[in-house]
Symmetry: C2
Subunit: 296 residues, 2 copies
């Protein structure tokens, strides 16, 4: 199942995406599943079963087009935790790519002001200096997780989505901690939907691809991550209680060599598409100001 | 004025602290100020005026003792932003203390699970390795702040409080980013109250003192910070919108030389008191498990 959050005059509501590729329709789940939002849905087996039954019974031809809906981020995490250097070949500045794997995950936080819906443009503010993209597989926590054993860790994951970890490289490198380069308003477009684990299968067998200006700049399998999705949930839960709706983004692959050589900062008018197999794609437009960024 | 948040069966409520030192009383402000919580109060000049009038009219003898109230954190920030190395003499590992001031603030994030009330004990979890304290002046944002000029920055600060930025040094140093060492559950006791700017005066003329086991381990003036409170609000607001209730903690002074030499990890049974002139003091007890940590 694929779940979205969409904006209505009465607030954000949960829905399932049904129908065929290119003609997706929107099935509102507020009433049928009895869950107020996607986070509640993911954590409630009964609501998930009701959603599944409603999807099976729905006639897509009678439903509104997904393309006409205004999507919010599928979840609004209390904590958005991100990994650095989690793909083999993606190494810190000045470290040889042949260096051995790190012993521990490198974790940083993006603040709530960064979260954006899948169709929200990202405004590049005046203070930005060198804006870049990172296409990442993100996990959504469905149940409270505290000191979770490795072998049970994926039971706490309610689904998978896509994060563009937009980053200002100049701000990121000003000091030892990356927070300000990572936490500009809107620098975490998320979505378009959360896909349930039964449709995703093994999260270490997904292809991550990023396209910019019609050129593929990243293409790597999640099988090349250093720390698996399960390990990261297990590891993080040793220090902090993970709450339903929290999102853990599993890091970006290194760009392809030609894309590294051709690096230039994102500017208004640019667009970046992140595709992950069995999940979908997230296209983010960049604009000059928040006014232009209302909706594409 | 000093504002607290206290726990009742009906939820957390805002109150003012009145009366004399050692016999503080609690004046509930929910009805008189018309503000649902301390954050709303700080951002509403009318509510602040009503609170001030109610405090002037109150007879402390008729009010319940503050000591009998169960305090929550005075605010629950959406974003808790912290500074590293912001006092002269507090330098990164391996950097000489005579090195010149950094050009930019070093900023990191503590997640919402870290926030604790001023009397909540901090449970040292099984995974912790080397728990340490940092006594810090913290600013509470009262009004939404975006791209704020330096000379107006303090107008967005609704008051000041104390943060103990509890940190696990071993986890902090495992990788380049400090998040996991900073984000254990409960590792940000905050309070006991927010003091309004009129009572604090110049935030760069406050004495920060920390006491552990009856020994003063930190004693330094905020006049020795590298980046002022005003500068930090201005600087952060260039990248992110600061929201009412957000907290910015201004960093810790270096420990006194004898305390550095005597460093040992905090263990269950320890207590640390942070005192800041014109604000108050925050004492944090450390316990072995969350069960013991219910309330001292």
């Amino acid at each position: 199942m694929r779940f979205v959050s969409y904006r209505t005059a009465a607030g954000v509501r949960p829905a399932a995406v049904v129908g065929v590729h290119g003609d997706e329709r929107l099935l509102d789940l507020t009433a049928v599943a009895g869950a107020p939002d996607v986070v509640a849905l993911l954590g409630d087996p009964g609501a998930l079963a009701r959603a599944r039954a409603a999807i099976a019974e729905a006639d897509p031809a009678e439903l509104p087009a997904l393309a006409d809906a205004e999507l919010d981020a599928p979840v609004r995490p209390g904590k958005l935790l991100c990994l650095g250097y989690n793909y083999r070949g993606h190494v810190p500045d000045g470290v040889a790519p042949t260096a051995s794997d790190p012993e521990f995950p490198d974790v940083f936080v993006k603040t709530p002001n960064t979260i954006g819906g899948p169709d929200d443009a990202v405004a590049i503010p005046d203070a930005a200096l060198d804006v870049d993209y990172e296409g990442e597989l993100a996990l959504v926590i469905a149940r409270r997780a505290k000191e979770v054993p490795l072998e049970e860790a994926l039971e706490y994951v309610g689904g998978y989505t896509i994060l563009n970890d937009v980053s200002d490289r100049a701000w990121q490198r000003r000091q030892s901690q990356w927070a300000l380069g990572k936490c500009f308003d809107g620098f975490a477009p998320l979505g378009p939907w959360v896909v349930t684990p039964d449709e995703v299968g093994d999260p270490q067998q997904l292809d991550v691809e990023v396209e910019r200006d019609g050129v593929v700049t990243v293409a790597q399998s999640t099988s090349t991550t250093i720390f698996s999705a399960a390990y990261v949930v297990h590891y993080l839960s040793q220090t902090m209680t993970l709450e339903p709706g929290d999102v853990i983004s599993t890091g970006t692959p290194q760009k392809l060599p030609a894309a590294q050589d051709a690096h230039r900062a994102l500017v208004p008018g640019d667009a970046v598409t992140v595709r992950i197999s069995r999940i979908g794609q997230l296209t983010t437009r960049f604009t000059a100001s928040a006014d232009e960024g209302a909706r594409r």
